[in-house]
């Protein structure tokens, strides 16, 4: 079992009213799964991904990741956990504008204190694998959206995570680029990487092995 969410609630108070962002979410994800989260805008897809990725807190419930009780961990410990095991891919890519392709991919390794020679080898592998060796010295603005997202994925993969969290990874891309990215995810999944993606598109969801539906912060069990 990679991770397990039990009775997760997350809410914000607006005046006297309590607005639930996540309501009684129960979820188990096994290693090697490729899961898609679907639902309309505002249904809580991104919030759920952020909770899984430990970037966001939740108010109630328990969350175990690799048998570690995330809800009981200190901030620093939690950060170490996601640094080690989770890679993020964003809809807006979120590359650092001031860094080149090479440096963007390298950054997570810097924060893990990987030695220089090892870093070089790892980044070179990654560039090679994604066929972007020729673009390694370019800055993000000089790339197309699809290429930027490739870099984003490469960056997420560089620290060899067990889990990739992708929030609408193709939301800003055209259909051809989308297809390439999804093929890539499929390949990664086949290599053993667990993937959870949030998406609007049935097409994209069909690449996954399992789909869950959210509506107003709840799992939509009718589906």
């Amino acid at each position: 079992m990679l991770l397990e969410l039990k009775n997760i609630y997350k809410w914000v108070n607006s005046g006297s009213r309590r607005i639930f962002l996540l309501k009684d979410i129960n979820l188990e994800v096994k290693e090697g799964e490729f899961m898609s989260i679907m639902g309309p805008s505002g249904s809580g897809k991104s919030t759920l991904l952020n909770v899984i990725g430990m970037l966001d807190h939740f108010n109630e419930g328990t969350y175990n990741f690799l048998n570690e009780p995330v809800h009981e961990l200190k901030e620093k410990h939690r950060a170490n956990l996601y640094k080690e095991y989770i890679g993020f891919v964003f809809q807006a890519y979120h590359l650092i504008d001031e860094l080149t392709v090479y440096e963007n991919i390298e950054t997570p390794l810097l924060y893990k204190n990987v030695k220089s020679s090892e870093r070089k080898a790892l980044v070179a592998d990654m560039l090679d694998r994604f066929n972007i060796v020729g673009k390694k010295d370019l800055f993000p603005q000089q790339l197309s959206g699809g290429q930027q997202q490739l870099v984003g994925i490469a960056r997420a993969l560089i620290s060899k995570p067990k889990l990739i969290l992708a929030d609408e990874p193709t939301g800003n891309l055209n259909s051809k680029q989308s297809e390439e990215i999804m093929e890539l995810f499929k390949d990664l999944n086949n290599e053993g990487v667990t993937i959870i993606q949030a998406t609007h598109s049935e097409m994209n969801a069909s690449y996954g092995s399992r789909t869950i539906h959210l509506l107003d912060g709840m799992r939509n069990r009718t589906n």
Binding site: L55, F88, H94, I96, S159
Partner: protein, 811 residues
């Protein structure tokens, strides 16, 4: 990792060129200013410290009050140094300087050169002060009469080289002609010395009746044994006065005892004064040069620190304001696994890097401005003096300190962003509603306003001095020195020049109502027998018949000296203060008595006139009592002229002078220039204050400009929406400016009382001073407001006229 920080820091700097430039220029100006002032302060503090015994050397100061006149002097009597050494084992050595004879003419080839850096000194001078010899032995150099020690550069001027000078003779105009043997050549004295001579003549050659405890004409220095407390030692002076001074005084007037003398409001005090304090803390009568002022050192240091602080604040402000631009980067880095600490380091690296670049610019800036600063501060500082291990250490530490100080707040602020929030674009930290930022802007503008008010007041006071009625007419007066001319020639030259059509009036004189002129202080009594109660001191100047009209002084009672009266040789003219000191109701016809030595008879003078008070000392002091008698003092000739062609007139006078005295130097000055020289320090301070205010306001404006830019950028979308909803350009500009204008107004309210207090304190130094006008504050407020408005409107207008469609689309 550090490499990565540097890389991203550099790229960030290049990406935001405008921001970087504002940041670096602001910081560089602040740092440069700091460096120059630090050099200045270090130089001021270094005076006289190069002497090996510097911490044990003291000067004997005298404080005398007699008949209501205070004499606060840097000189003491001729025997007192030797007496101390003889009576007290605590005194290791003593040495005197006698500079009262002023400059000397020294013969070089066929020509006489007027040398002003000359003095007579005891042979022990070189045991007290560290003045190393190049050739010769200073220990014995001044033991014999007719010997002279000169500095290296003087030796080069007269003999080509120090080695060549030894054993040669110098001819001076003492007693028409005196020859001195050069017995030693010393290194040039360092600039940072409170006295700075090129020639030391032996003390045996002065014409002075030695052993007189009552006349104070010698600068006396003593070296105390190690570990002697000079304040304790000062207690011995009471014994010295009772044992040596009082017996002499009782010959001269009826003094019962020291107690009676002090009871009648008089005072006689001696005290040791530390050598290293002389330059900054001593401004007595008869100092050996223009000393500095510790107050100005404090003021300058404070101003430099404040400017540095303003610059650092800018840095903080701009960096924090820009933080929203960096928020996304922070968010991504956190998601990628960066710890808070790593981010703090990254931002500190960045600010330190900027500080380093700014430091380099600052050194260049300091180097470029040093000449100019030297000229207004009359120093000779060079940038290479920074190359000393302790200075370099400070210089290198500075950017770290500044970088950490200025970068700490942005670093902690930025690194504490919540990644999820920033990635969703929820952080908007660049708005004007930030209390810390408001506080910083208020601080900057308060400081700037204080400096501006200070500058205006200083300049007002200076112009008040220049234009105030000083009781004589200083314009269009030429003063020519006669020291090179024989007596008879002086008279014929004067009458020849008086014939010129441009010359309205001519007179001889020795005493002038401006600085750098001789003074003569004498004790008078209103009765034939002098007692503690009827005696008083006053200036006693001998002048000729034409002196008063030539200098444009005004008689308010009685008459001037006149050739028509035979008895005027015992007549005396008083100024108003002297009438008051003597206690006369109807001064004309009253008698005043004085004598010219301990055993001389009392001479009665009859008051024939009263002259309106005129300022003969600086306007810092009130006009003291002064008297004129008729005499034949012809050290200088004074000409009142009326011409537009001043250089032409000077040429004519010089030609006539040279014809009378071939080979003699022609020295002249204008009365109004000499007058201005008395206020050179104030003028300097005025210029420095002006520079500081301009710098401070410039840096503050750079900061304001940067802030306005970012706030305008932040609110682009809001501005777009408002315009779509019908807001005019004026509305938008007003909206963007109001917050800042409010801050400037608050600064004004804070700054005004502080500035008033400080400037009032400064003005207390002047007996003749202006009142601070309310309009100075209003004017300064308006200036600050206008400058802020202009700065802001650049950005505000640009933001306001932008096309809303564009700004909304880019969102």
């Amino acid at each position: 990792m550090i490499k990565n920080y540097f890389k991203i820091a550099l790229r960030n700097l290049f990406k935001n060129k405008g921001f970087t430039a504002i940041n670096i220029i602001g910081l560089a100006l602040g740092l440069g200013c700091f460096i120059v002032i630090a050099m200045y302060v270090a130089d001021e503090l270094s005076y006289d410290r190069y002497h090996e015994k510097a911490d044990r050397i003291y000067r004997i100061n005298s404080d005398i009050r007699f008949g209501g006149t205070d004499l606060i002097m840097a000189v003491s009597s001729d025997p007192i140094g030797a007496t101390l050494k003889q009576d007290y084992p605590e005194v290791e050595e003593s040495a005197r300087l006698y500079s009262s004879s002023g400059s000397k003419l020294i013969k070089k080839g066929d020509e006489y050169i007027n040398e002003s850096r000359v003095t007579h000194a005891d042979s022990t001078l070189f045991d007290v002060f560290t003045l190393p010899a190049i050739v010769g032995d200073t220990k014995s150099a001044l033991k014999e009469p007719n010997s002279v020690v000169m500095t290296e550069s003087a030796a080069r001027r007269y003999f080509g080289s120090p080695d060549n000078a030894i054993g040669k003779t110098l001819e001076t105009d003492d007693n028409r002609s005196t020859l001195y043997n050069v017995t030693a050549v010393i290194k040039d004295m360092p600039k940072n010395s409170h006295f700075n001579y090129e020639f030391f003549f032996s003390m045996a050659n002065i014409r002075y009746t030695m052993g007189n405890y009552l006349s104070h004409n010698f600068h006396t220095y003593v070296v105390l044994q190690p570990d002697v407390d000079y304040k304790e030692f000062n207690k011995y002076f009471t014994d010295v006065i009772n044992k040596y001074v009082m017996p002499q005084a009782s010959h001269f007037m009826k003094v019962e005892s020291m107690e009676a003398f002090e009871k009648s409001g008089n005072k006689l005090e001696y005290a040791l004064f530390p050598l290293t304090d002389i330059h900054l803390k001593s401004s007595r009568g008869v100092e050996l040069g223009t000393n500095g002022n510790i107050q100005y050192v404090y003021i300058f240091s404070a101003a430099a620190l404040f400017i540095l602080l303003i610059a650092c604040i800018n840095f903080m402000n701009l960096t924090t304001a820009r933080s929203s631009g960096r928020a996304k980067e922070v968010g991504i880095r956190k998601v990628l696994g960066s710890e808070k600490r790593a981010l703090i380091w990254q931002f500190l690296t960045e600010s330190t890097l900027i500080a380093f670049i700014a430091l380099i610019c600052a050194i260049v800036f300091a180097w470029l401005s040093l000449d100019w600063f030297n000229s207004i501060s009359s120093k000779e500082m060079v940038i290479s003096s920074l190359i000393r291990p302790e200075y370099l250490a400070v210089l290198l530490a500075l950017p770290f300190m500044v970088g950490i100080m200025a970068g700490a707040y942005p670093a902690f602020f930025l690194s504490s962003f919540q990644p999820v929030k920033v990635l969703k674009g929820k952080i908007s930290s660049g708005t004007s509603k930030n209390n810390l930022r408001s506080f910083l802007v208020v601080f900057q503008f308060s400081t700037s306003i204080i400096l501006i008010i200070g500058t205006v007041v200083i300049y007002q006071q200076l112009s008040h001095i220049q234009n105030s009625k000083v009781g004589f007419d200083k314009e269009q007066v030429l003063v020519v020195e006669n020291s090179g001319l024989p007596r008879q020639a002086r008279e014929s030259l004067k009458s020849e020049i008086a014939q010129l059509t441009d010359v309205k009036s001519a007179s001889f004189g020795g005493y002038l109502p401006v600085g750098d002129s001789s003074r003569s202080d004498t004790t008078f009594s209103s009765e034939a027998v002098m007692t503690e109660s009827n005696g008083f001191n006053m200036q006693f100047w001998n002048i000729d018949y034409d002196y008063i009209p030539t200098l444009g002084m005004e008689m308010i009672e009685g008459r001037n000296f006149s050739r028509a009266f035979g008895s005027d040789s015992l007549g005396i003219i008083l100024n108003e203060s002297a009438v008051k000191s003597a206690g006369f109701k109807n001064p004309i016809g009253q008698k005043l008595y004085t004598s010219f030595g301990p055993n001389e008879p009392m001479i009665p003078y009859t008051v024939i006139g009263v002259v309106k008070n005129f300022n003969y000392e600086s306007l810092r002091q009130n006009v003291g009592p002064l008297s004129f008698i008729l005499g034949n003092n012809s050290w200088v000739s004074i000409y009142r002229f009326q011409t537009a062609d001043i250089t032409g007139l000077v040429d004519v006078v010089e030609r006539k002078y040279k014809a009378m005295a071939p080979g003699m130097p022609f020295n002249y000055r204008f009365m109004d220039e000499s007058f201005d020289n008395m206020y050179r320090q104030e003028q300097r301070v005025g210029k420095v204050a002006l520079t500081f205010s301009i710098l401070a306001i410039l840096i503050a404006c750079l900061g304001l400009f940067g802030l306005a830019t970012y706030i305008a950028e932040q609110r682009t979308k809001e501005i777009g929406i408002r315009k779509v909803l019908g807001a005019t350009v004026t509305n938008i500009v007003a909206m963007l400016s109001t917050d800042f204008i409010k801050l400037v107004l608050i600064s004004f309210v804070i700054a005004t009382p502080i500035a008033y207090w400080f400037m009032n304190k400064w003005l207390q130094d002047f007996a003749f001073r202006i009142d601070i006008n309310w309009w100075v504050f209003i004017l300064t407020g308006i200036i600050a407001l206008l400058i802020a408005l202009v700065t802001l409107s650049f950005q505000a207008i640009r933001a306001a006229i932008s096309n809303p469609v564009k700004s909304l689309r880019t969102e």
